[in-house]
Symmetry: C2
Subunit: 478 residues, 2 copies
Amino acid sequence: MAEQKKLVEAITPMEEDFAQWYTDIVKKAELMDYSSVRGCMVIEPYGWAIWENIRNFLDARLKELGHENVSMPLFIPESLLNKEKDHVQGFAPEVAWVTMGGNEKLQERLCVRPTSETLFCEHYARVIHSWRDLPKLYNQWCSVVRWEKTTRPFLRSVEFHWQEGHTMHETAEEAKKETRRILELYAEFCENQLAMPVLRGQKTESEKFAGAEATLTIEAMMHDGKALQSGTSHYFGDGFAKAFNVTFQGRDNSICHPFQTSWGMSTRIVGGIIMTHGDDSGLVLPPAIAPVQVIIVPIAQHKAGVLEKAAELQKRLNEQFRVKTDDSDHAPGWKFSQYEMKGVPLRLEIGPKDIAKNQCVLVRRTDREKVFVPLDHLEAAIAEQLEKVRSDMYEKALKNRENKTSEAKSLAEMKEIADSKPGFIKAMWCGDPACEEKLKEVAGVSSRCIPFGHEHESGTCVCCGKPAEKLVYWGKAY
Amino acid sequence: MAEQKKLVEAITPMEEDFAQWYTDIVKKAELMDYSSVRGCMVIEPYGWAIWENIRNFLDARLKELGHENVSMPLFIPESLLNKEKDHVQGFAPEVAWVTMGGNEKLQERLCVRPTSETLFCEHYARVIHSWRDLPKLYNQWCSVVRWEKTTRPFLRSVEFHWQEGHTMHETAEEAKKETRRILELYAEFCENQLAMPVLRGQKTESEKFAGAEATLTIEAMMHDGKALQSGTSHYFGDGFAKAFNVTFQGRDNSICHPFQTSWGMSTRIVGGIIMTHGDDSGLVLPPAIAPVQVIIVPIAQHKAGVLEKAAELQKRLNEQFRVKTDDSDHAPGWKFSQYEMKGVPLRLEIGPKDIAKNQCVLVRRTDREKVFVPLDHLEAAIAEQLEKVRSDMYEKALKNRENKTSEAKSLAEMKEIADSKPGFIKAMWCGDPACEEKLKEVAGVSSRCIPFGHEHESGTCVCCGKPAEKLVYWGKAY
């Protein structure tokens, strides 16, 4: 019981210090450990298992849609990075440079890839010849490095893991469609699998990806009212293709440049899951990606038949769910706290009285409600309870976002809301980057996105008062 | 037909130039492409799919045995690499050094990990406290970098992919058992899944891993008689644990150092598959890891019902096998060559006559034998034919190894065999590194391994003639 108390006391309450609460959770739930390299984490088994589940789901979806996995080199020669002007300006200040190989100074510096557009383009230039070779739908799972000054576990790290898709298409229309198709895939994944409601929209010019023509984004809201950019999908036009001399023979035999997209979702999303769903007892994991979906806790396990029954259930349920049994010597109360900390969606308690009645108890992580279930219908009951956990999580997150979304009509109102009420602020914008910059300076908010369908409304700019047709969600962001 | 001819002509025959044959295959079968970074490859979809199948199989086996996946940082600070003396001596000359982050010079150089013992030890020092925390059975899938001077696709590259397992145990016995258990896992994987017979044995002192007490290895023989070290498993004793101050409280409350292992299998094995099984028509892939196990080629596909039947079979067989249909406009003959080049284990031909008889034709990649199969029993027939492909591949590889294994009693005999007959040479060795060195100089062969069970034979050293009890397999190696 001493250990149980220690565990519970060790988490800083969210309301007291949200940042510390976050740090406590990533450590206490054993998601990660710091390393001696600044900003690079050790992702521990429990944290990596979450990422593997995310990866397996997205990977299967991408393959269904026709994408193929490849592996590009870890390094980019400086001259290759320099080929597209906007891109290099965006990334050069934040890359790690390899200058020595063994004991020799390299003739040309190599950067550790911060993203791989340049490498994909170089390869595509060699393998794309005819319109028959298009589309190319390639993806890779890897880690990339960005020399960030301030880092936080999962949210912003020097090295992070992601998938990066890079596609080439015959027409601009097809490429734009791909950009949107993938954004929708990300959005549905967040909403249906991770129980995270997201805004779908387009970034403003000043917030778009270095070298892109357009950046689409999904924006989630964290429990503290800050936004998290959770996935992006970029349309490049044929700008990179021209810079890298990627060409193909078109249907009319003319030489054309293909149209390109790239898109990624990263380990950052693990931080998003924590900050969307977690509470003062610890992590709360969406069932779809929880490494353990059901934790079996035997009650009065020294009594005859209890551990045997627990083992029998474990074996039976493992066919369909990810199940673990804790038959250690710790008290049940300690185990309850432990698996609440780890965010396991459902607890299954089984003791002598339950066995006598041929039943067990299911307890949801979300509301700790107890449900008595006949063992004969256990699989169906677990499936139902896991779905209830997911939908409750989604509803709670949606309500949080609704409660924390405001509207502003003037700069003064914007500043007042930004100072007093964390969350999204909806406001019209004329499209002038100067107004965007001023909102940042005065109210401390950045544009999160122009939600799809709100590009042509009528109103006046929240900043300059001139006519405006774009609705923008503004906010503070991670 | 022009394209078909082109394809077939493009491979250099093995007997003419084995190295060129190899290079032709990796390119023509679309396994990889060169990049502008020396020694770093683009692994193309077909090559990466092979690696994914290898990874999925090994990953599932390792998880069954209780191993957990983690992710360690990409970088190692120079001071951390320096902590274990033998290790740093082995690796420092061949690492890539990051010296700049953005525009700033780093205070301490970081090397791109060549292997991760140091990182695992640093983490283990923080998370291992008691004997109850042991064993720790961690693994990661990642790429590592070694600044090799001479590189070849898959066989020796500057960046390569692998899994690296790193475990910590309470006792030396347990760690040694783990080292051996994993070697056996690798050996069985090679033999049963990849149809590659391997020697299991121990490396000599001079060939062992930098910092290890013992290195176990599996050695395969390539078609040209050269050896390929295909997987290694190292026992470290408590040397690293001492250097990194990893301690735990033992059962008797004393402070102890744990005993360590590490082991890895890499993308090198893809090169091994090519050179063990390939022939002058191209790649020959073991069914267990072939991205496409059955290629359906419709015959007279313009005739009514043929493409429909092919699609029906594709859908039906996909439940159980990895199946693809080529319904492109290319002639059947072109398709035959194309999928032979790509090493697809089985071809399924279906045409109007077959449909009339409710049958199809299966053709094995290994011997091009045609088998007529009633459609009602197709799944069973395919399973049987795939198994026959696998066992034929294994038998052929084993025979090649047997034909190319010789025995030598004297240095002169050793030299003569080494010069005239590529392959393994069995010979007794006294254990003196000087003799090993001399064999390298005079006969150009290195010790591959002391096979398990042959550590205590009686004989005289092939080099110095003194009493010797170790049987060693010698050879030229990749």
